[in-house]
Amino acid sequence: MSSLLEYSEVSIAYSGKKTVHEVSFSIDAGECLCIVGESGSGKTTLIKAAMALLADNASMCHGSIYFKGQDMASLSPSELRKLSGSEISMIFQDSLGALTPTRTIRNQLLEMFKAHGLTHIDHAYAQALNLLEQLRIAHPHRVLESYPFELSGGMGQRVGIMFACILSPSLIIGDEPTSALDVLSQKEVLKFFSEHKSKQSGLLLVTHNIALAKYIADSVVVLKDGRVQEYASSIEIFTHPKSEYTKSLLAASPKLRRE
């Protein structure tokens, strides 16, 4: 069986300037892959390409991305739309920015349900509330009734996670999904991701948080300047890093010194 998601020699250019160079990796069902790397190395660019969300001036100049064996580039916009959200979903680095500013979260959630032909909307809605609660949101009702600008950064991020997970997609792509969360919430998110993994779904996470990667990743891609520095299983990377860059990353990770 082919893997869930496969990047094969993907190169991406902004206004003709190549930014991501021949990146290849793959994720199987029930696996979590973390991309770590330098800020500005092309992580966001890379994952946005999977869902055809690249900016106007960006183009994928080489390689292909396969989801369940299907070339994403060959999908028609409506096929892609059907996949989006229900099969593959994305947690944006700027979660609040990815929500329509003039509509309540609830309104946008219901729209998403309708767009994917959900019949048990009440049930799904209750699930969303549940999920938020599980992610340590104190007043999930209020949050759902809020407009994006009324939420704090961490709340927005958790709403983003909720959006990405609510339809139980087989692949969740997360762009630094916990960067704005306090550690307790982070824990819940990780717990939730683990559960998700155990349901044979894939995870593709971009993160700076080495501890997080250690905790959840099965394999890790280390990216710098748009090139893969190292691609190996999690254990291997964290115990025997090969590239210099990986080593420096691991060394720089701050640790809590308890006396």
Partner: protein
């Protein structure tokens, strides 16, 4: 909220006073008087005595402030006076012409929206493609033709050449409300809608282009929301603020009547009444018109300001601010 609305409604009073006083002053000092102009229109000369007598009859020889306060007292006691020209009751004359204006306004706004929203969106989606250029070229034509020209062209095509619609919009042989018909309203409404749509299409296109480049569009796409839905519920909703503003301005203009269209199509609305009154210095009618316009604009702008809050939650009215200060 209610406080706010109440306060805004209260503001109407000083503004109406201000506007009417201003218009009265301007018309007074601009010179000319109804009697002279009236008699002159027929091309007959009248002796100065006759003029003076008539001027006296109408009270036009009284001091300016007296005339204004006289009108004001009448206004507050519900008497808007009689036209200097026709001698008819101003309120009755004015209200008899309002239905035509309102019908025309509603139909042409509706047509405008129906034409311009889809085309504007389509043009934005096809940004700088052939379809976009075609639509834009059409709007340039619509934008460069004056109303009277479009009107005459439409009459020529649909009434004279094809004979589908009447050239005269109000039914001959009937007057008042019964002379208004939907069929008759079509040509004048289209005339107005063509010019307005040309503007709206371009405005909507510009707005949508602005919105389409925002991040939340990616978000919606990633959630699998259909494009149409994104356009209507997200993009358009964000653009409503501006569209509503434009609509309000147009509605205000239209409710003020469009003298040229009314004249060409013989559609008896307030626009021509007002223009004639201004030319004839028929103060009572001018004042009625000014009051109406003030009311319309204040009312429409109040509604728009309120609608901002509902459309865009980020917009806060002054009321919130004041509450905060308090």
């Amino acid at each position: 909220m209610f406080n706010y609305i109440f306060r805004r409604l209260l503001q109407i009073i000083p503004i109406v006073l201000g506007i009417t006083f201003l218009s009265f002053t301007i018309m007074y000092f601009a010179g000319g008087n109804a009697v002279e102009i009236l008699l002159e229109n027929q091309g007959l000369a009248v002796s100065q005595e006759v003029l003076n007598q008539k001027i006296h009859e109408l009270g036009l020889d009284r001091p300016f402030l007296v005339q204004y306060f006289d009108w004001l007292i009448g206004f507050f006691s519900g008497d808007l006076g009689r036209s200097y020209v026709s001698g008819n009751d101003v309120f009755a004359v004015f209200t008899s012409k309002l239905p035509a204006t309102i019908i025309l306004t509603l139909i042409s706004l509706l047509l405008t929206l129906v034409i311009s929203i889809p085309l504007g969106i389509y043009s934005a989606l096809k940004h700088n493609k052939l379809a976009d250029y075609i639509i834009r070229a059409a709007t340039f034509i619509g934008n460069s033709l004056p109303n009277f020209f479009v009107a005459l062209l439409l009459i020529f095509i649909f009434a004279i050449s094809l004979g589908w619609l009447p050239a005269i919009s109000s039914k001959i042989g009937s007057s008042g409300l019964s002379s208004l018909s939907l069929k008759g309203a079509l040509l004048p409404s289209f005339t107005l809608a063509i010019a307005m749509s040309s503007k709206y299409i371009r405005q909507i296109r510009a707005l949508i282009l602005d919105e389409l480049s925002k991040d939340y569009i990616s978000g919606a796409k990633a959630r699998g929301i259909p494009k149409a839905s994104i356009l209507i519920k997200d993009v358009l909703k964000n653009s409503w603020l501006m569209i509503i503003t434009l609509l309000a301005l147009s509605a205000g203009d239209l409710l003020g009547g469009t003298a040229i269209i009314e004249t060409i199509f013989q559609w008896d609305g307030v626009g021509k009444l007002a223009v004639d009154a201004i030319e004839m210095r028929d103060y009572p009618i001018i004042q009625m018109y000014v009051v109406w316009m003030a009311f319309i604009y204040l009312f429409i702008n109040l509604i728009t300001d309120l609608s901002y809050v509902f459309i865009d939650p980020r917009v806060k009215l002054n009321m919130d601010r004041d509450d905060e200060r308090a």
